[in-house]
């Protein structure tokens, strides 16, 4: 049990020291990594633990971001209330979309989430009187936390705020996936028919997971709105959803810190891609192919297979679908 604790301590130290070791402009990128890690975490619950990969998470992120932005700009609501409203509305939209999407499973489910996300984009794009459409909502100030001596306008101060929220979400996630709810989800992922015949209301479990994932995306959206100071319709499109999904499957679906690892790799690479190639979409596509073919259990899964730990670890199978369909349930990390 000390190995995960040591790893966690090391990770926390790194996270605390990193903003002081990198150039100032890079700190915002670190904050963005955490934001996307939260988005990917929610998606991981759906894709990695419940077995329902989705290409629609960005829609909930955008909902949270727009809600908070509009409340702050137009109604001059305080940050706490605006943030809470953003997360709740994202979850509410998730509740509505979940009813539609969960009429199907597998690839059809994926298509439906894609279509639903596109419709959110269409709303953000065309409802100009509310969202200013393509021009976006700008001039969003950073949250003011008067009881802290550092202004949130400072990149490093804001990074620590984001880090604290991230750790809270991470802890909640770890507890959730080890709970009976989380174990049931994994059972449904492995074989929904069997779970149903055991008497579980599988739809309800999946629906709950869908809403929680939407909520996580909402938190990510709110934090991103403050980070960038603006919200644009592009936040609800397929691109961020596709990147989040890649973060999950590359980091390690069905693992707790997989999404963070995925985000920590993909987000800076996506940003700095133009430094070594003009063709980022090519790299992104190639990563998808390479990961699916070669490391479907993701980086964390791959590492775990190679590091000797508890003797009771089940042997990894050779099936390529292993990572997405059958990550061993109840893992520590």
């Amino acid at each position: 049990m000390t190995r995960p604790l040591a790893a966690a301590a090391a990770g926390l130290t790194l996270a605390a020291l990193l903003p002081f070791a990198v150039p100032a402009y890079f700190v915002d990128i670190l904050s963005r990594v955490l934001v996307f890690a939260m988005l990917a975490m929610g998606l991981n619950l759906l894709a990695g633990y419940a077995g329902l990969p989705s290409l629609g998470q960005a829609a909930f992120m955008a909902t949270g971001a727009y809600t908070a932005a509009l409340l702050i700009r137009k109604l001059e609501v305080g940050f706490a209330a605006a943030s809470l409203a953003g997360v709740l509305l994202a979850a509410a939209v998730g509740a509505v979309f979940g009813l539609i999407a969960l009429r199907a499973r597998g690839a059809t489910f994926l298509l439906i989430t894609l279509a639903l996300a596109q419709s959110v984009w269409a709303v953000a794009f065309t409802w100009r009187s509310l969202t200013r459409g393509d021009d976006g909502l700008g001039s969003i100030p950073r949250p003011e936390l008067g009881w802290l001596p550092w202004p949130m306008a400072d990149a490093r101060a804001y990074y620590f705020l984001v880090l604290i929220v991230f750790l809270a979400l991470l802890a909640a996630f770890a507890v959730l996936v080890r709970s009976p709810f989380g174990l049931a989800l994994q059972g449904i992922r492995d074989n929904e028919q069997r779970m149903r015949s055991l008497g579980y209301n599988t739809w309800l479990y999946l629906y709950t997971a869908f809403i929680i994932a939407a909520g996580y995306a909402g938190v990510a959206g709110v934090l991103r709105a403050y980070l960038v100071g603006a919200v644009v319709p592009g936040w609800s499109q397929v691109d961020p959803s596709a990147e989040a999904l890649l973060m999950v499957i590359m980091g390690g679906p069905g693992t707790v810190i997989g999404p963070l690892v995925g985000a920590a790799i993909i987000e800076p690479v996506a940003e700095m891609a133009n430094l070594f190639t003009r063709h980022w979409p090519l790299v992104l596509g190639a990563l998808y192919v390479v990961v699916i073919l070669g490391a479907p259990e993701g980086i964390v899964g791959w590492l775990r297979r190679r590091l000797p730990a508890r003797a009771s670890r089940p042997a990894a199978s050779e099936r390529p679908s292993e990572g997405l369909a059958a990550a061993a349930p109840g893992e520590a990390i």
Binding site: A107, L110, A115, G285
Partner: protein, 286 residues
Amino acid sequence: MDTLPLTLLDALSLAMLLFLLSAGLSITFGLMRVLNMAHASFYLLGGYIGLAVWSRTANFGLALLAAAASMALGGGLLYGVFLARFSKEDEMPQVLLTFGMLLIAAEAAMIVWGGNVMRLPPPALLQGPAELGAVTYPRYRLFVIAAGLAMAVALSLLIGRTRLGAMVRAGVDDTETAQTIGLNMPRLFLLVFGLGSLVAGLAGALGAPYLGVYPGLDFDVLLLAFAVIIVGGAGSVEGAFVASLLVALADTLTKTYVPALSYFSIYVPMALILAFRPRGLLGRAA
């Protein structure tokens, strides 16, 4: 001037293009449970390759042939090299892998052909408007309607009346049983995948004269193809045909009479189907 006949012709020409685009996808999805996201890439590349052949030979027919043949080959390769290793249960890895292919193909096309909108001029016979009594309608669109109907009939006969078609239908209904009675499913899969890609490539070249070819075309048509699959159900040529008509009609009528809702036109039939008949109108695969 009564514009309803024009509107209906518009819907019909769009429907035929949608049908050609999605028929192959419906069959492969229904038969093999492979949702090939790169299907839209075959459409895009079919357009580009048709354009490339035409610019060298000035022969429209040859351009169409080249588009169809090259995409059949591409589809076969995609399946054989990358997808054949997955079993029917591994839906998600195949979707994600083909999604990666979609991204790669899109960028590769940009690198080769650049970012401009390009046009494949149709043969002189098919250029310009045709006077049909009271209405004036582009000749080329009439050609697309005719070509689409011909392909629909051909595919329907292929699936419904030939031995190959019977094998496909058996495979769609129950792959395991089909295999036990001796059907060579892997070879069938390869054939069907190639056929689906062929039709998509042909659709791309057919659409190039009036929709153009440009980066982003694949994503534009991807969503339309999905709408048709969801509405029509997987595994059925007839389903794809009916759904194409419905989606095209919804899209065209919205654009004509309620343009403010144009962005949402395809979601209405989708939402209705999902609410009342999630399997799709004529969906077959379990």
